[in-house]
Amino acid sequence: MDALIGWVALAVAVLMAALILAYSLTRRATWPTFRHMPPFDALAVDLGRSVEAGTRLHVALGSGSLTSNDSAASLIGLATLSQIATAGSVSDKPPLATSGDGAVALLAQDVLRVAFRQQRAEDRYDPLLGRVTGVGAQGYAAGAMHTAPDEDVTATIVLGAVGPEAALIAESGARRGTVIGGTLDVQGQTALYVTADHPLIGEELFASGAYLHVNRAHAASLQAQDILRWLVIASIVGLAVVRTLGLL
C-alpha cells in the first residue's frame, strides 16, 4: 500500500513538473487569463499608495520555518515579496518583510537585495528591511503587531506560514490601513477570513505569483494546478464509482 502511494505520488510529481516545464517554456504562448481576484487589485492600489505617499508596506512572512510543513507558504511569500519589493523599492519607505524564522528572514533579505539591485536602488537597501520580529508563533505575532504602528505602514500583507495569530497581526494592521492576507494554515486562513479586508482563502495564496507576474513559471504552475485539480476530481469521482459498484 505504502509503495503504491509512493509510486502514485511520484507519478503526480513528475506529471506536474512536466506540465510546469512545458507551459513555462512555451515561447509563443500568451500570458493566460485567470479569474478576477480582488485582493490582488487591492495590492496594486496599496503598492501605488506606498510609492506615492511614501508609506510602507509590511509583508508578514509568518513564523513558519523552511523546514516545517508550511515551507511552501514561505516560498510563495518570498516569491511574492520579490515582486512587491521591485515595485516598492522606489518608495520613500520600501517594503518591510518580517518573519519569525531566521532562514526566511535571511532569504527575504536576499530577495529584497536582488529587487533593489535590479531597480538600481541598491544603495537604499538596508538588510534590516528583512527582519525577525520575534521567534515562535506568539513571539512573532507580538513583534509583528508593532510593525504597523512603528513603521508607518499603510498596508499589511500577510503572505506566509502563520497560524490563528494572524488575526492579531491583521487587527493591528487594520488600525493603520488595509490588510491583505493569505496563508496555508487553515486556522490562519479562518482568522484572516474574518479579520482581513481582502482574504486569500485556500490555495489562492499560491496564485499570487501568477497574478503579480513574477515569471512565466508561476502562470504555468497555476495552469498545471488547474489541470491536476480536474485530474484529482476525476480520480475521486471515478474511485468512488468503482467502490460504489463494489469493484474495489
Partner: protein, 204 residues
C-alpha cells in the same frame, strides 16, 4: 552562461530528498540521512541567526534612540537573562520551567485570550462589511457549532450536540478537504518550481 553553484545545490538537494521519499534504497537512504541531519543543524543555525537579526533590530533602535527604544532595552535584557538561565541549567530544569510557566505562558495565553476578543469583534464587523450568502452560511455554522460546543445551563440538548458533531464531521470536513487538497496541489507546484530552478529565493 553563468553556472550558479547555488542553483545546482538547491536542485540536487531537493531531487535527492524527493526521490528518497519515493525510492527507498541504501544509497538514497544514507545520502538522505546525511542531508537530514545537516538540514537540522543548518536550520537551527538559521534560527540562531534569526535571533541575531532580532537583536540587531533592537540594538539599532537603542543606539539610535528611536521612539520605543526603552522597550527594546527591556527586550534585550529579558532575552539575555532567559538565555543565560536556560543555557546554564538546561531547558527542563525547574528554573527554566519557572520562566516558561510564570512568564512565557501567561503572556502567550494572554495573547491567545486577546485573540478571542479580536475574533469576536472581527466576526461582528464582518457581518457589517460583507453581507453575502457566504457570510450568512459562515455565521449560521459558527452559531450552531458554538452552541453545540457550549454546555447549556441546566439542560442538555443532545440534538444540538449531534448537529454540531454532524457539521464538524460531514460538511465542514468536506470543505476542509477541498481546501487542503487544493493547498497540497499548490504546495506541490511551489516546491516543484523551486526544484526546477524557476524560483531562486536564495539568489543574492
Amino acid at each position: 552562461m553563468r553556472f550558479k553553484a547555488s542553483v545546482v545545490v538547491a536542485i540536487l538537494t531537493g531531487a535527492i530528498m524527493l526521490l528518497g521519499y519515493f525510492l527507498p534504497g541504501i544509497f538514497f537512504a544514507s545520502v538522505r540521512d546525511v542531508m537530514l541531519r545537516s538540514g537540522m543543524i543548518i536550520g537551527t543555525v538559521a534560527l540562531l541567526l534569526g535571533v541575531g537579526n532580532l537583536l540587531q533590530v533592537h540594538l539599532r533602535k537603542i543606539r539610535e534612540q528611536r521612539p520605543g527604544h526603552l522597550y527594546s532595552i527591556f527586550m534585550v535584557i529579558s532575552l539575555f537573562s532567559v538565555f543565560a538561565v536556560v543555557v546554564l541549567f538546561g531547558p527542563a530544569h525547574p528554573y527554566s520551567v519557572w520562566v516558561v510557566s510564570e512568564i512565557q505562558r501567561p503572556l502567550e495565553i494572554g495573547l491567545m485570550g486577546l485573540l478571542a476578543v479580536v475574533l469576536l469583534l472581527a466576526g461582528v464587523r464582518l457581518l457589517f462589511r460583507r453581507q453575502a450568502l457566504g457570510t450568512l452560511v459562515f455565521f449560521l455554522t459558527a452559531f450552531l457549532v458554538l452552541l453545540g460546543t457550549a454546555p447549556l445551563p441546566f439542560i442538555s440538548l443532545p440534538f444540538l450536540e449531534g448537529l454540531r458533531n454532524w457539521i464538524a464531521q460531514v460538511p465542514a470536513v468536506a470543505g476542509a478537504r477541498g481546501i487542503i487538497l487544493g493547498v497540497a496541489l499548490g504546495a506541490t507546484a511551489t516546491g516543484l518550481r523551486v526544484l526546477l530552478g524557476f524560483d531562486q529565493p536564495y539568489e543574492r
